[in-house]
């Protein structure tokens, strides 16, 4: 078999990760050596994996890699089809950046934390993720899935001294284990009904099943993968777990771990089940919309920077699910061209989100590491002390708010186009649903912009609000390099988004059989692009906008050079209504910034407010005012807490059967014997 270069590279990448992990374990005593060697090895491994997947994607070939494993219950077969390679490519890019970043970041806690173990589990996470994306049989998939969760659990509860991190780790592991249980049942059911456990036997196996079985399988897969994708009812672990992990790990978790859930849904919906039922697409669209809106509404009032980023991951995963739901509805309506375009939009947003969320987490990590606090209310003035990190965070913020020159805008534009396409193509009353989903997307996009203006404005600009924020220092050069790689990726994708269509096209070609990336004619009838669109093809509208922005900004540059450079500038204090001196206390706080939105969406937040003032002379001259406002996390308090409390109470009451009396124990056996004897005489 003439092995493609991508196969060799893929195997080489895995071996490099493994070598790095084992080295990390062995050299756990020499912390610095371990740190440098392991993270440079993983960076190299990521580069190799990226190369392998890119060549495979461009060539569009599907190749299988078999690692002989002797007498083992698990068949180590990997399949590099375009869908797996696409996700592996995203993983490779993020892993490369995070590894470079970690060289500097891990130095911070190398002194008092087990760095060797951290490196080992970091490599296990990378291997697990790669294996999940490219596993070719159900058992290997589940093994990789849970070992990835195991590594993520270690990373999340890495500094387990803090009780909150331990709880976050346990909550994460329990919910992901419950998800894996659903997947286990679903895979075994599918395996028994389709006669084998290889993904090739699963291909289009769904079509042969009865609608009831197909529906049940689909719900199980959605539940299992939904936990990892952060869907609404099962998302509560995400805002707790990601901030708890060290920033380089939480960057990898937020960027890629979430995508394993979405990869699973795509694999099931389009590869295994063939044509998904209509209600499933509708369900995903609805859940995606709800997840996006609730995600951003919680993000905007969150004072903790990393928790806010975790909530915004939930929001973006909601947007991706909306695009996926739309694709599945088009598929079930038979509009394969529109479905392919919607899936391309979804895949492109997955890649973009992986890039800019990793960038945001890395830069946030650098700031948290430098200022020592995660609370926005205590940050401020960081842009002067850490100019480059602030710039990178700004690039990430612009990308995530889908603002034109960067990649966020391109994928969000494509999602709008696919949603609008939905109105024209479908006939039934559900077609009003698509524009409504479009407006929901617009609302979430605008709120995201507000949220990141708040994060960047309050967190980075003006005066530092706490002494430790004023002591911040610029991040280590390797950390800046890691962030730089991702920022460059953001800009590159933003400007050359159209070239990316070819890659996306090969993925849709595998799943739908049609490749609309390159085929402009197909694109024109599809998108709502203008009549002229046909000639210019899809590429013209969004990506080239970035070039237009660069072109037009020449004019103010001219104005600056000719006119404004010479103007004399005087720096003076900002207007302070006559107060003696403007201090950090005059600045707007994060909570004040989101206060209007909290009042507008009060029905959703149900905020609890307590205000009481003490006064001696008269009510108009209060001596001290105490204000307290708190928004309880909705799902924990209303759904999960009562459920768990009732379950534990019943478990507690059930413990009475072991109350210590030997007579009771013997009576249990006696009654069972009598009942069975009676049953046997009658049977």
């Amino acid at each position: 078999m003439n092995t493609f270069p991508s196969e060799q590279l893929f195997k080489l990448g895995l071996e490099i990760y493994l070598a790095a992990g084992i080295f990390g374990l062995l050299a756990w005593r020499y912390r610095n050596l371990a740190r440098i060697v392991v993270f440079s090895l993983t960076a190299l491994g990521a580069a190799v994996e990226g190369g392998a997947c890119f060549t495979a994607l461009v060539s569009g070939q599907t190749s299988t890699v078999v690692i002989p494993s002797g007498v083992s219950m698990v068949a180590w077969t990997f399949r590099l089809d375009p869908l797996s390679c696409y996700f592996n490519l995203a993983l490779a890019v993020v892993a490369l950046a995070v590894s470079i970043y970690s060289l500097g970041y891990v130095r911070g806690f190398a002194a008092h934390k087990p760095v060797g173990l951290f490196c080992f589990f970091y490599c296990v996470l990378l291997i697990g993720l790669t294996a999940v994306f490219s596993a070719a049989n159900a058992i290997l998939f589940l093994m990789a899935w849970e070992s990835m969760a195991l590594a993520a659990w270690y990373l999340v509860s890495f500094d387990h001294e803090i009780a909150e991190n331990r709880q976050a780790g346990s909550l994460f592991f329990i919910m992901s284990h419950a998800g894996t249980a659903c997947l286990l049942i679903a895979f075994v059911l599918l395996g028994t009904w389709s006669g084998g456990f290889d993904f090739s036997t699963f291909h289009a196996a769904g079509a042969a099943l009865t609608p009831l079985r197909q529906g049940a399988l689909f719900l199980l897969f959605i539940a299992g993968f939904g936990v990892k994708a952060g869907m609404i009812p099962v998302h509560i672990w995400l805002p707790a777990a990601h901030p708890a992990a060290p920033s380089n790990a939480s960057a990898l978790l937020s960027a890629i771990l979430i995508k394993t859930g979405i990869y699973g849904i795509i694999r099931v919906a389009f590869d295994f089940l063939g044509v998904p039922p209509l209600w499933s697409g509708f369900l995903l669209l609805a859940i995606g919309g709800a997840t996006a809106l609730m995600g951003i509404l919680w993000a905007i009032i969150e004072p903790d920077l990393k928790k806010m980023l975790a909530w915004s991951t939930i929001e973006n995963s909601g947007i991706i699910l909306m695009a996926l739901g739309a694709a599945m509805m088009f598929q079930s309506y038979g509009q394969t061209a529109l479905a392919a375009f919607a899936l391309m939009a979804c895949l492109f947003h997955i890649f973009n989100h992986a890039i800019f969320k990793a960038l945001l987490f890395l830069s946030a990590g650098a700031v948290v590491h430098a200022t020592g606090t995660r609370n926005l209310e205590r940050m401020g003035g960081v842009i002067r002390l850490m100019p480059l990190t602030a710039a990178f965070f700004l690039v990430g913020a612009l990308a995530i708010s889908a603002l034109p020159p960067l990649n966020g805008f391109v994928s969000e534009w494509m999602i709008y186009q696919s949603l609008l396409g939905g109105f024209r193509s479908t006939t039934s009353v559900t077609r009003v649903l698509f524009p409504i989903a479009g407006t929901l997307l617009a609302l979430t996009g605008a709120l995201a912009a507000a949220c990141f203006v708040r994060a960047f404005g309050i967190g980075f600009l003006a005066l530092p609000r706490s002494p430790e924020a004023s002591l911040a220092h610029e991040a280590h050069p390797t950390m800046l390099a890691g962030m730089g790689v991702l920022a460059a990726a953001c800009v590159a994708l933003g400007v050359s988004g159209s070239m990316w269509m070819g890659v996306l096209g090969s993925v849709t070609h595998q799943l739908f059989g049609i490749n609309i990336g390159a085929d402009a004619a197909m694109a024109s009838g599809l998108t709502l692009g203008s009549g002229l669109q046909a000639a210019g093809g899809l590429q013209k509208t969004p990506a080239s906008l970035a070039i237009a922005v660069l072109l037009i900004s020449v004019l103010p540059l001219l104005l600056w050079v000719l006119w404004l450079r010479g103007r004399t500038r005087v720096t003076g204090p900002a207007w302070d209504c006559g107060l003696p001196r403007l201090t950090a206390h005059n600045e707007y706080t994060a909570m004040a910034f989101s206060k209007p939105l909290q009042m507008i969406f009060a029905a959703f937040y149900q905020p609890r407010r307590a205000l009481h003032a003490e006064y001696e002379v008269s009510t108009f001259y209060p001596t001290s005012v105490h204000f307290e406002s708190e928004v309880a996390p909705a799902f924990e308090t209303r759904l999960y807490a009562p459920l768990i409390a009732r379950f534990m109470a019943r478990a507690g009451s059930f413990r009475r059967i072991q109350a210590g009396s030997i007579h009771a124990y013997l009576a249990y056996i006696f009654v069972t014997l009598i009942l069975l004897l009676i049953w046997s005489t009658r049977a």
Binding site: V432, A442, A449
Partner: protein, 313 residues
């Protein structure tokens, strides 16, 4: 390539001149209605010219973002101007972006304006940017829904395509979906450009100002650029409103002979719309901040009705 450059230069020139004149016209018309003489139509141009020659005072806490904001604000306004068909149905840079690009470019300008306000470090900037972002977050779905309705009837999100389609079907603009969409978009326009029911452009009273609070710290040429950009954005949004819903008079091509009538019709429609805005301004008082979402909810309902009516009637 040369043709588009010429078209762009022409439209740019028109943009730079007409925008301050339009806001001057609105200000004087409002004064006249309030039985005052008003500063005259050329006043905004005089202001811009004066500010450009003055020195600047930069707040101590400001970083490079404070300095970059005017440039970003002004250039996004100009780019949006070139994307919108003003005189002829084909906008100069039509191949570079549709209506979604217009909305998101405006959002980019607003994003940097809010950051610039926060950079000054005083609570006014924070107040202004917080309110601006909140109101724009609520206004965007209403605006998007109205635009979706038009895009769906014209089967494209490219503004020039929309204009071309609606010109060909002459009386189509009187269809109920178009009228509902127009009214929804009109309310969203008031919110976006900061007119009276949502925000009072003329006041400096802390409790009510939104747009003014953000530009409090700017002075000299920076303030000029921002004021100029704001007036261009207002002109662009009004043009968007006018040319998508009442497209008659738009010249089919860029030949000089039908550009003149196109320009005349365009200015007439623009002044009519400005008159409507002034009428609304003088007859209403500024809404309390937390009543604005109800107004924008009305706009959203209008947009939704427009959408449904596209396939009902």
């Amino acid at each position: 390539m040369m043709a588009t450059l010429a078209k762009a230069a022409l439209q740019l020139l028109l943009l730079l001149i007409a925008a301050p004149l339009l806001s001057g016209f609105i200000r004087t018309l409002k004064a006249r209605l309030q039985m005052r003489r008003g500063p005259g139509i050329l006043q905004p141009l005089r202001d811009v010219w004066k500010l450009l020659r003055k020195d600047m005072v930069i707040p101590e806490t400001a970083s490079w973002i404070f300095a970059a904001t005017p440039y970003v604000y002004f250039s996004t306004a100009m780019l949006v101007g070139l994307l919108v068909p003003m005189i002829a149905t084909a906008a100069p840079l039509r191949l570079f972006g549709g209506v979604l690009a217009v909305i998101y470019l405006l959002a980019l300008g607003r994003f940097f304006m809010a950051l610039g306000a926060l950079d000054a470090g005083s609570s006014f900037g924070g107040l202004g940017s917080s309110r601006e972002m909140t109101i724009s977050a609520i206004a965007e779905p209403a605006m998007m829904l109205a635009i979706f309705t038009v895009a769906i009837t014209a089967n494209s999100t490219d503004l020039s395509e929309m204009a071309r389609v609606s010109v060909s079907q002459s009386w189509k603009f009187l269809a109920p979906s178009q009228m509902l969409a127009f009214s929804g978009l009109f309310i969203a326009l008031l919110a976006e450009t900061g007119r009276i029911p949502v925000d009072n452009p003329a006041t400096h009273l802390e409790l009510t100002m939104i747009h003014e609070a953000m530009v409090l710290e700017y002075s000299g040429p920076y303030l000029a650029l921002i004021e100029w950009g704001a007036s261009i954005r207002q002109l662009v949004l009004m043009t968007l409103l006018v040319n998508t819903f009442f497209p008659f008079g738009l010249s089919a091509n860029w030949t000089p002979i039908n550009l003149i009538p196109g320009l005349a019709f365009y200015l007439l429609k623009l002044l009519l719309l400005a008159g409507a805005v002034v009428l609304v301004e003088t007859s209403n008082a500024k809404l309390r901040l937390f009543r604005v979402p109800e107004l924008l909810a009305v706009a959203f309902i209008l947009g939704a009705l427009a959408l449904i009516s596209t396939f009902l009637f």
